[in-house]
Amino acid sequence: MTDTAAAGPKVALFVTCLVDLFRPSVAFAAVKLLQDAGCDVRVPAAQTCCGQPGWNSGDRKGARALARKAIEAFQDYDHVVVPSGSCAGTMVKDYPAMFDDSVRWRRRAESLAGRTHEIVSFLTDVLGVERVEAKLEAAATYHDSCSGLRGLGVKTQPRKLLASVEGLELREMEEAEVCCGFGGTFCVKYPDVSGKMVGDKAANIDASGADLVLAGDLGCLMNMAGRLSREGRRARARHVVEVLAGMTDTPAIGEGETR
């Protein structure tokens, strides 16, 4: 660790449960991007899940229990950065709403909400990153995940940084802003409807001519990757930070070592 990095803002990475379990590459890429941008990055060991599954299933008490844990785990950092618009959205938008009956916890929730950011918008909007040092020969299309887009206003930021990736061509698909059908537990509670939605998404990805679909949320990416491979379509899926960090040596999501 260099002195320069240590002098930067103290940033906690919230890995998120999906990235921790399914796609560690995303967290490693996030650490690299944050360090490259001069942050003093830490990964608090006490972190687990933000509580969104409970919150969105009506389990307010359970969601609050996990939110309190997260508020405590991330209280000592200048910023908390999340490679997911969905989990970041829960912390930014929902945590304050969870504690409408407790002034003390509401204040703590609002403090965390004010310090929490989705990673790509953090790089551009807070740190002022204009470009990245990365290279990838590919035609990519970007799916705007719902929580990041409509909850946090993440739209231009990933496109701006992707434009600086050497060799990468960005091809917009139709209905890039329409939900892919993941929706957390929705995809297993309503598999048929979800299947129709992700089928439409896969068709739009395919029609864009891109060989790679990028997004900022692993849930959506696993959903799209799984449907693309099930339908035998060409495009592969990666989290946007893998490309921005230049860490695309690992197989794409849902791909083995050899194809």
Binding site: V19, L21, A45, A65, C146, C179
Partner: protein, 478 residues
């Protein structure tokens, strides 16, 4: 209970809808038009979002003083010679409408488009009592011929293909030559117009809905594109307006605020083709108009929403933008929702009106993608309210026990980081072992819902991030 719901069967309804090729082709045909036109209308009016704020604030004010405005409205209607009937339930509304029709010795009742009449099941009720209801809105007419209910609140026949319209007309219009040319939309339209024109002169009573009720003038307002509403209400002797209590706005100026966001959000028009203000029966100096003017004001559960976390839903002006932009609605269409109101607004309103035990499937059938709230002209926080319904269900133990059990387990483990690491480590290895070429084709239990529709990406080999990450003594990446 009013119209019999199949809402608890949403999942089954949805499966049927997805397998229905005609429905899917009709939905695919309709989908892009609504959202494109709304986006264009919005882009053409720089103050559109400010108007949305104004419309929201206006309706919030009304809901805070609903009793006052309703009483003021009632006084104005009476002053202009009309009658106001208060219907606490759908049953009350049916009884009131039937009494008015009987008094008018009605054999035929013409109807402009009204969702409140759908909510009250007026058509079936009148028919059971020997009175023939005739829908005059083209879409409503088509579905009446087909024996259906609306699948969309402003485009009731959006689920019907042109070919099906042709079939319905051939079957229903038996008096017309069998071999006639029915190709082309204009031809179909002309035929419907010819048939309906005659009916306008036969009806003793005309029933319309109301997009708004204006407290300062006692007027009802309807917004249509076909002019059918105007003929339905001005030609018969008796005009009955069916409206719910939250349709009230204080002044004519307030009505114009709502009108400026309504058509733009609904169809992308600046204004609908006809916007008609009606006030009382025909006066001596009027060239035409009904002899009697009645307003049936329906509550049917709405006043119970006041002061609750669902009050914001009463701002709804029934533009349909939420369903036009809803990926779930666009996948399954409106009938799958199983009651009167489909899409996101239906997902919030249905449990409010028929109970969460009956309507609870709907607020669950959402990914919370937020597109509905993003386009709602009244800025109704639809996803937030769907989640509130999920909370009510959870509190009432209506949430399936497997879900409750799973969430409880998740909370227990995720509250204990060491246990959580142990669990995720085991899960990572187990799922990685199940993977073939990086993916899993078939998962058991709840996972089957995933793998029925798509492969499940296996975890990256090498374990979880937290097990691979090696920070230095200060917790920094080394």
């Amino acid at each position: 209970m009013t119209l019999q719901s199949t809402t608890p069967e949403f999942k089954r309804n949805a499966r049927g809808a997805l397998a229905d090729e005609k429905l899917q082709s009709a939905l695919a045909f309709a989908k892009p038009g609504f959202s494109t036109k709304r986006a264009q209308a919005r882009a053409a009016l720089p103050e559109f979002d400010d108007l949305r704020d104004a419309a929201r604030d206006l309706k919030d004010h009304v809901l805070g003083h609903l009793d006052l405005y309703l009483e003021a409205y009632e006084r104005r209607v009476i002053e202009s010679g009309g009658h106001v009937h208060w219907a606490e339930t759908a049953e009350d509304a049916r009884r009131i409408v039937l009494e008015i029709c009987r008094k008018a010795e009605a054999k035929t009742v013409n109807k402009g488009k009204t969702m409140i009449s759908e909510e009250c099941g007026i058509n079936d009720f009148l028919a059971e009592n020997g009175i023939a209801p005739v829908e005059t809105d083209l879409g409503e007419y088509i579905i009446q011929l087909r024996g259906e209910h609306p699948s969309h609140i402003i485009a009731p026949a959006v689920h019907v293909t042109v070919e099906e319209v042709r079939e319905a007309f051939r079957k229903a219009h038996g008096h017309l030559p069998e071999g006639r040319d029915l190709e082309g939309l204009d031809t179909l339209l002309a035929e419907a117009r010819t048939v309906l024109r005659k009916k306008y002169f036969e009806a003793e009573v005309g029933i319309t809905g109301a997009n708004m009720l204006i407290a300062e003038t006692g007027q009802s307002v309807i917004v249509t594109n076909e002019g059918n509403g105007d003929l339905s209400q001005s030609l018969p002797k008796v005009h009955v307006v069916m409206a719910s209590i939250e349709k009230i706005v204080p002044t004519l100026e307030d009505a114009s605020t709502i009108l400026r966001v309504l058509a733009r959000s609904a169809t992308g028009q600046e204004m609908s083709v006809y916007t008609t203000f009606s006030q009382g029966p025909r006066r001596a100096e009027d060239p035409d108009g009904p002899e009697e003017y009645h307003v049936v004001l329906l509550d049917n559960g709405r006043s119970n929403m006041l002061g609750t976390e669902f009050q914001d839903m009463l701002r709804c002006i029934r533009c349909g933008a939420c369903m036009n932009h809803c990926p779930v609605y666009n996948a399954v269409g409106g009938h799958a929702y199983g009651w009167v109101y489909p899409g996101p607004m239906g997902a919030v309103l249905t449990p409010s009106l028929i109970g969460v035990e009956e309507g609870g499937q709907l607020p669950n059938a959402s990914t919370f993608c937020g597109r509905c709230e993003a386009v709602c002209p009244m800025r109704i926080p639809l996803p937030r309210m769907m989640r509130s319904w999920r909370e009510r269900e959870f509190e009432k133990r209506l949430t399936p026990s497997a879900t409750r059990w799973g969430l409880g387990l998740w909370r227990f483990v995720a509250s204990r980081p060491a246990l959580y690491r142990l669990g995720t480590g085991i899960a990572s290895r187990a799922l990685a072992a199940m993977g073939r070429g990086g993916r899993i084709a078939k998962l058991p239990w709840a996972g089957a819902g995933w793998t029925d529709q798509r492969d499940f990406p296996a975890p990256e080999p090498g374990g979880t991030f937290m097990s691979r990450y090696r920070p230095d003594a200060d917790g920094r990446p080394s």
